[in-house]
């Protein structure tokens, strides 16, 4: 019985290998894109797969010669797998890219420049997004979507404490005093959750204070700027000075978004991408406002977004370009907008996305586009974000004091940036 199963498994594996071989062969032998072509399309978000499939099907209807094969790899393995595949020349023809990685992939010639393609038009997309995917004057990514950060709040807890809901006019001081009123240890309720998350929290508070994580030319760290330090201090004070946020340990054991979703936290700065989680949370009556302004009235949020890119060693550059062009079209972005999972990058389509979930003021995320700053990146972002996060974890955990830690981050970052 067991042996039979083994033989069957072996045969199955052989069959798989055989079909795998044959499919890749047919893909590579495509006769100069005139015959039928199968393009592989690498993505990492299962929630977005239905929308991507719909777009792929619509594209196939318009281009019957080109079939799109979507390859979903969970985010945890996506980059490891992609990098290995790219090293061996077998990465997908078209795939998702994010801002922290584009410098590495474009810098190491793994992507085709879109600026060189006839008919490339980046005017329908926000400038900050185009800039994020531009390296040495050439754009490598067709913006797909974007995200900004807003101040989520729990209406039930605000009502119970008699505190007015956050508005676009709020400043840091309003957040601090509201958090103090909302904080209620006897009920296990915190006024705010202020973790050492960078995109959702620290990069924004640094900007609001007038500082920055990295200089605009991507050459120097901004962590040793006293204004950046003030931004970090503001975020840390909720834990160490005002005692209105769970500690780093508590937020490690139970993630702050889970604390917010279960009604333990009254305010939490978080991206629009976590909206589906809060929408699905039972008994959570929440809403979202723009982020507060810093001490000098400066408003800011980082903007990050994905883009579709073409693999430099694709066998079908022409077909891949046609597909990417379609991915950047209004039609494809409208399909994304309707599903409500992400904000489409295409200007003017955000209204569809906002209308997809009327119970929240999602317009708060769109309104902040005017003050949005590109997510801090360099040519090899991962090289400095890893030690940066480690040190921030140490600061938040109370192992290293803020001033020393921030100096350490700046030194490590500058050393890595100098290598670029």
């Amino acid at each position: 019985m067991f042996r039979k199963a083994l033989v069957l498994a072996g045969v199955g594996a052989l069959a798989l290998a055989a079909t795998g071989c044959s499919s890749s062969k047919s893909a590579s032998s495509g006769q100069a894109d005139s015959g039928p072509v199968t393009l592989t399309y690498g993505i990492w978000d299962a929630k977005q797969k239905p929308a991507m499939q719909e777009i792929a099907d619509a594209f196939h209807t318009a281009h019957p010669n080109i079939t799109i094969d979507i390859q979903l790899t969970p985010n945890a393995d996506y980059w490891t797998k992609l990098q290995t595949a790219a090293a061996s020349g077998t990465a997908p023809d078209v795939f998702w890219m994010n801002t922290p990685r584009v410098g590495l992939y474009a810098g190491q010639h793994q992507l085709l420049s879109l600026s060189d393609k006839p008919g490339f038009d980046n005017s329908p997309f926000p400038k900050a997004l185009n800039d994020s995917y531009t390296l040495d004057g050439k754009q490598y990514g067709m913006p797909k979507d974007f995200d900004t950060v807003g101040l989520w709040f729990n209406k039930k807890l605000f009502d119970a404490a008699g505190v007015k809901y956050p508005t676009a006019g709020w400043t840091w001081q309003d957040v601090i005093s509201a958090a103090q009123k909302l904080n209620d240890p006897s009920k296990g309720v915190w006024g705010i959750a202020s973790p050492d998350w960078t995109q959702e929290n620290l990069f924004n508070t640094m900007l609001q204070a007038g500082g920055q994580a990295i200089t605009p030319d991507h050459k120097k760290s901004g962590f040793d700027d006293p204004k950046s330090l003030a931004g970090l201090q503001y975020a840390l004070d909720f834990i160490t000075k005002y005692h209105v946020s769970p500690t780093a340990q508590q937020m490690t054991d139970t993630q702050p978004d889970q604390l917010f979703a279960s009604g333990k936290v009254a305010m939490f700065a978080d991206g629009d991408y976590d909206m589906p989680e809060y929408k699905a949370a039972a008994g959570l009556d929440a809403d979202v406002a723009p982020l507060p302004a810093g001490p000098d009235g400066k408003k800011a949020t980082v903007i990050n977004g994905l883009a579709n890119v073409i693999y430099a060693k694709t066998k079908h550059p022409q077909a891949a370009w046609e597909f990417v062009q379609y991915l950047g079209s209004k039609e494809a972005n409208e399909i994304q907008a309707k599903t409500g999972t992400v904000i489409p990058a295409y200007n003017g389509l955000s209204a569809t996305w906002v209308a997809s979930t009327p119970q929240y003021h999602l317009q708060s995320f769109i309104d902040q586009l005017d003050v949005a700053v590109p997510y801090p990146v360099s040519k090899n972002t991962a090289a400095w974000t890893t030690p940066m996060q480690t040190t921030l974890d140490q600061i938040w955990g109370g192992k290293v004091d803020l001033t020393t830690g921030a100096k350490q981050i700046a030194a490590q970052m500058n050393a890595e940036l100098a290598k670029e």
């Binding site: 090293a87 190491q108 793994q110 780093a248 340990q249 490690t252 054991d253 974890d393 938040w396 109370g398």
Partner: protein
Amino acid sequence: MSATESTPVAAGRATGARPGPERGPGSPGTRPVAGRRPRFSKAHMKEWAWGYAMIAPLFVGLFLFYLWPIVQSAYFSFTSWGAFGGQQWVGFQNYSSFLSDPQLPRAAWNTVKYALIILAGIPVSIVFAALMNQVSGKYASLYRVLYFLPVVSMPAAVAMVWRWLYNGDYGLINYLLSLIGIHGPHWVSDDRYTIWAMGLVGIWSSLGYNMIIFAAGLKNIPRQYYEASSLDGAGRVRQFFSITLPLLSPSIFFVSVLSVIGGLQMFDMVLMMLGKTNPALAGSKTIAYLFYEDAFVTGNQGLAAAIAVVLTLVLLALTAIQFRLQKRWVHYA
């Protein structure tokens, strides 16, 4: 199913550690030795060829997926990698940067501490195995399955469940502690406790496997020894130390060798139970975790290969030492 199957196999391996002269392909025993035939006769060769053909599927797999990567890793440890392939020979540079890594002392200590905790769990397994041997009847196999389940559970799932149990604010463990008036710590986010927390899970998840081996070892001890010794007036404690423990020593040796090797390679719990953004991570990294970080987070594969080579050499040395020392305390009946 695997529980009952692995018993004879594992026990065989345990006692098989004894140096045996009659092994290898040409060994007598499978066939009566035909004295006058030359050693490399055609018939012999044919038989060997068949033998190798039979083991080829296993051997080819072993070579391709175990032996060859070891050779490759050793080579890669002297190279520096580009993000998308392309290696450059850098000599011993990876080794020197690993040995001068400021994280190394703490990681080495954490690794050793974890392995020691796992070793300290061996007596627990022996006690449980002895107790298990007392159980007979229809519940015996049920118990065996229950204790063996952690062994066959996915490490990721195990880590997730324990992460919940260890939760400082809402975890079951701290809730139970609060009932007796103890305010439990943040087990997996405070680096004073993380290694202990992981060690406990390590003992728990290897308990079933160790018990199976010890249970088999205990069954192999002849009853007559106990009968004879009780006639001589030995009590239960004396019997345990003078009969059970010495005769169980081959199994103990086998388990401790495996525990040291497994313990020093621990990595999964740091990643799954602690996670990448954890204030306790810096103080809880193990050597294997440093390897993971270099290979898969910062993309420094050459350095990672050097760490793997060093770890392999240390494991080889420790295992060799254990084999040397076994002569002093392991009794093969």
